[in-house]
């Protein structure tokens, strides 16, 4: 038998706690006998009586904590001390979770919830990088919803994330699905075997919803933020996302969603696709087919096409899919109703990529397509309040969201603009998106409905047909009740498009003249 003593100077524990600690210490299997006590005269007397007194104990003071262990060997004594130390410190855990503890900083929240693995940060852009850095330093993956974060900060944060092997989604990242949980703005979709890395929020939402409709499902949707594929950022997160999905056993097919990357970044992404063991579908709005195909990727020009390719690669039976082809008789019917001067499309969008997709579809046939998000300055609206020829407006862009919530939450700006556009006799078609899902307005169609009904009536009174196309981005699992939204839209006399892609195609085809 070995007896070992540990004296912790100046450490006070009250006597009742010590009794219970001693009891627990004596229950440790390897312990023959253990005493945990303050070095008072009375306790020393007890220690003497049981024959465990040592000079060390003798010299301990009233304010010293004395731990004595008797065990079979020195090594077992050491192990017993370790177990006793756990007993001494363990009490902290049990106090947590009883009442809800409120934390003010990421660091203290992480200390209080050691299982935390992701931070969603949605604070003013001037504070956001600091919070994101704290989260990464605490080994949390980050979804940075905030915008107005400088590109320097973005690079610094993503580099730090890269060093630590963490996800750094954003800044300005509003959509992700991780472990089947939708984050910020995302739709409720089936779990499946398709993984997505998306640099565009509504574009990624659209692809997930179409995959869901085709009977497929999602493993992960990793958002990167819109600037990830810029020259400066260099696609850090898209590359990390592809790699993670490649290593993810549940993922069979990978889909990439973005606007066209900077050329040097495109090279990097394509190089990684080339090496990737899994099929990769690439939908870069307005992208180049040849390069993607050369890299062994599967090119998709539009959103539905991307979803379709993905589900087929993931094993769906093409003959059983309802691909929802364009309604050609409807196109003829609407063309016949529109007067010759009703030449133009006005696209009023809450989703940036939905706007971009419809715009690119229009650009295939028209060269006078204007927008607040046109990359070519020549076709950028001089005044975002005034439409020109074919005009597509993304109401989620900064010019419209300064000091206001996103149009997916607050539809007021778009309603005003809709009323304005509906009065324009040169307009044939107004196309709009209605985004459902987590984070979105609870009744987006309902909010626009009175304006649609009134506008159609006014046009009719003036003797012209106003064609309104609505596309509802959502699934039957979303809380807004997509069926009810579609019914409301149809009841107003608007046309319902079954996908973002079809909305763009219908709008374009309705106003094509003389074909």
């Amino acid at each position: 038998m070995t007896v070992q003593v540990l004296v912790k100077p100046n450490t006070y524990i009250d006597s009742v706690s010590l009794m219970s600690l001693s009891t627990k210490a004596n229950q440790i299997e390897i312990v023959e006998q253990a005493i945990i006590a303050m070095g008072t005269e009375m306790n020393k007397e007890v220690i003497r009586n049981v024959g465990l007194m040592t000079p060390e104990v003798e010299s301990a003071k009233t304010s010293d904590l004395v731990i004595i262990v008797k065990a079979a060997s020195e090594e077992l004594c050491e192990r017993a001390f370790e177990s006793i130390n756990v007993l001494l410190t363990k009490k902290k855990d049990s106090s947590k979770g009883k009442s809800e503890v409120k934390y003010s900083t990421i660091t203290s929240a992480v200390n209080g919830t050691p299982d935390a693995n992701l931070a969603i940060i949605a604070v003013n852009g001037s504070y956001a990088p600091r919070e994101a850095r704290k989260a990464l330093e605490n080994n949390l993956h980050v979804m940075l919803f905030s915008d107005n974060v400088s590109i320097e900060d973005e690079i610094e944060l993503k580099t730090l994330a890269q060093e630590k092997g963490l996800l750094m989604m954003g800044p300005d990242c509003g959509t992700a699905i991780i472990g089947n949980v939708a984050l910020c703005f995302a739709n409720a979709v089936r779990k499946g075997n398709i993984g997505i890395v998306g640099a565009s929020g509504t574009g990624s939402q659209e692809v997930t919803v179409r995959i869901h409709e085709f009977g497929g499902g999602i493993t992960q949707l990793i958002g990167t933020g819109g600037r990830d594929l810029s020259e400066e950022v260099g696609g850090i997160m898209m590359l990390a996302g592809i790699k993670a999905l490649e290593e993810d056993d549940a993922t069979k097919v990978i889909v990439l969603v973005s606007k066209p990357p900077a050329p040097s970044v495109e090279e990097k992404v394509l190089a990684q696709i080339k090496q990737c063991k899994k099929p990769v579908v690439v939908w870069f709005v307005g992208g180049n087919e040849e390069k993607v195909t050369q890299a062994g990727g599967h090119f998709a020009k539009m959103s539905k096409e991307a979803a379709l390719k993905a589900v087929l690669l993931a094993g769906a039976d093409e003959s059983k899919l309802n691909k929802r082809a364009l309604n050609l008789p409807l196109i003829e019917e609407v063309r016949a109703k529109l007067k010759p001067e009703q030449k133009y499309i006005r696209g009023l969008f809450s989703g940036g990529t939905l706007c971009d997709e419809a715009m690119h579809i229009a650009m295939e046939k028209f060269d006078n397509v204007y927008s607040n998000i046109q990359r070519d300055p020549e076709y950028r609206l001089k005044d975002v309040r005034v439409s020109q020829d074919h005009t597509f407006i993304d109401f989620g862009d900064d010019q419209f969201t300064q000091g206001k919530p996103h149009p997916m939450i607050d539809p007021s700006t778009r309603i005003e603009r809709f009323i304005q556009e509906a009065k324009d006799p040169s307009v044939g078609v107004i196309v709009m998106d209605f985004v459902l899902g987590f984070g979105a307005h609870e009744d987006p169609v309902g909010a626009m409905l009175p304006a649609i009904i009134e506008a159609k009536q006014a046009a009719e009174d003036e003797g012209r047909h106003l064609e309104i196309i609505g596309y509802i981005l959502g699934t039957e699992l979303d809380s807004q009740n997509i069926e009810g939204q579609i019914n409301k839209l149809l009841a107003s006399g608007a046309t319902h498009a079954s996908s973002s892609q079809n909305a763009g195609l219908l709008a374009r085809e309705f106003v094509v003249k003389g074909e």
């Binding site: 009250d14 409120k102 003010s104 929240a109 935390a116």
Partner: protein
């Protein structure tokens, strides 16, 4: 497996910062979410954020952490022992016949508020430097009296903190680090000098304290060779339901219990000894100053550690609230305006009657008791809003701005976690959470005394200045 792939397979456990709706959506999907009570750091002031960033640079963080670790270890390991009582003139460094010590950061006679002027003039009369309060006021204004903060003389003083040459002081020695702290004796009751009252009854009591109570305590402690280990006693008092700033029922009982065997052996008459015991039992505040001296003794041992961002002093003079920080040695005060104390008041008094926050007693919160230990004192939760849950949340909240828990002073209701210890300037500015102080309220005018008690926070300006100074000072 990479960390990203681990994220795919583990249950999502999110820390949500900012928009609250995101939390609700996550909860609907059965994810675990912790929503932060987040505020812009440094109230959004870019200069403060830059200072925080500077202190959080990896090249300095380690130094600060090491310095703070040392500071809190010194606070925790301090063993303040009551070793005696004596008159200020005999023991307090720098004390003279014409010196009057006061609470809080330095202040001139002209700027003192009502209660402090009341206490100063009362003390001048008590010392025999002037025959009455009016002439005492003239003397105070004449420049012949030296005013100095208690804190700059190893002392702390309750409320006005007014301490003059012949007053008896606790002498508390830090057995671990050797430094000594002093504080006045409690006058008990509400119409008292430290609350600004100064009539004949107040002066008479001070004379009795000088001639009977003080000498008995002095002689009693001379018979006690080991002194009284105050930290052990403090721990017991907390377990008995005191937070040792506003509730001192248990602590007073423990203290007098420890003193009694020696008091009865002194050479004073039975009648005089009886007066002492009656005085102690006249109010529970007898041990209040004792804990303040303990806290001062421990915190002084942690002052002046280069690069430490730990607060070592919080004190108020009724006009300004001042703090000192370990990393800036000596008597450098960072100040902001004293605040109004909010809480229950004696019948007949209204909030507009109250003087602004005053006293060195916030040294208890600086150490981690008082408002910081409210969770252990359910009997006085009325001070902090009425419910035990409120009291608990005050304590758990303070853990957000402190460095560690003091394992030697624990709170039974929170499963014996230690009191939150080591207020960190960085954390205060980062979170916007201010230290909670529970304290007495003195009438704003001289001569009246205590009218209530409640809760107060320091002004954030003091912490902001300290942060800026630290960021410049960091080595």
């Amino acid at each position: 497996m990479s960390k990203i792939n681990e994220l795919f397979t583990n249950k999502l456990n999110v820390i949500n910062v900012g928009i609250e709706n995101f939390r609700d959506d996550l909860l609907k999907q059965n994810a675990n979410v912790t929503h932060l009570e987040w505020m812009p750091p440094g109230r959004g002031n870019p200069e403060l954020i830059a200072a925080l960033d500077k202190l959080e640079d990896p090249s300095v963080t380690d130094k600060i952490e090491a310095a703070n670790k040392e500071a809190v270890e010194r606070i925790i390991n301090s063993q303040p022992v009551l070793i005696g009582f004596d008159q200020a003139i005999n023991v307090v460094p720098g004390m003279t016949k014409n010196t009057i010590l006061h609470a809080g950061p330095p202040i001139t006679w002209e700027r003192m508020n009502g209660p402090m002027k009341g206490a100063v003039t009362g003390a001048i009369v008590f010392e025999g430097l002037a025959p009455n309060i009016e002439e005492a006021a003239e003397l105070a204004a004449s420049g012949e009296i030296t005013f100095s903060p208690c804190h700059e003389h190893n002392c702390v003083g309750s409320m006005a903190g007014v301490t003059s040459a012949s007053m008896f002081m606790h002498i508390v020695e830090n057995k671990t680090y050797g430094n000594i702290a002093y504080t006045n004796l409690s006058e008990q009751m509400s119409k008292i000098l430290r609350m600004g009252a100064n009539d004949e009854s107040v002066i008479q009591r001070l004379i009795w304290m000088r001639d009977v109570l003080g000498p008995i305590l002095r002689d009693a402690m001379k018979l006690n060779p080991n002194g009284i280990d105050l930290r052990l006693m403090l721990s017991q008092a907390l377990h008995m339901g005191d937070e040792c700033h506003n509730r001192n029922v248990a602590g007073t009982t423990l203290l007098i219990q420890a003193l009694t065997p020696y008091i009865i052996q002194t050479d004073f008459t039975v009648e005089q000894k009886k007066e002492v015991f009656e005085f102690v039992s006249s109010s529970d505040y007898f041990s209040g100053p004792t804990w303040m001296a303990l806290c001062k003794c421990a915190l002084d041992a942690a002052h002046g550690i280069e690069n430490s961002t730990i607060v070592t002093t919080m004190a108020r003079n009724g006009v300004e609230f001042g703090i000192r920080v370990s990393g800036i040695a000596g008597n450098v005060w960072f100040t902001g305006p004293a605040q109004q104390v909010i809480g229950p008041m004696f019948a007949g008094y209204k909030p507009e009657d109250s003087g602004l926050d005053i006293g060195d007693s916030a040294i208890t919160e600086t150490y981690g008791i008082g408002g910081f230990a409210m969770a252990t004192a359910p009997a006085i939760v009325s001070l902090v809003g009425g419910t035990v849950d409120d009291a608990i949340s005050y304590t758990t909240k303070m853990a957000e701005i402190t460095t560690t828990e003091n394992p030697n002073v624990t709170i039974p209701m929170l499963d014996f976690i230690g009191i939150p210890t080591g207020i960190d300037i960085q954390k205060v500015i980062q979170t916007g959470i201010m230290p909670i102080i529970n304290t007495a309220i003195a009438h704003k005018d001289a001569g009246i005394g205590m009218i209530g008690a409640g809760i107060v926070n320091p002004p954030i300006e003091a912490f902001e200045q300290a942060l800026l100074a630290l960021s410049e000072n960091i080595k």
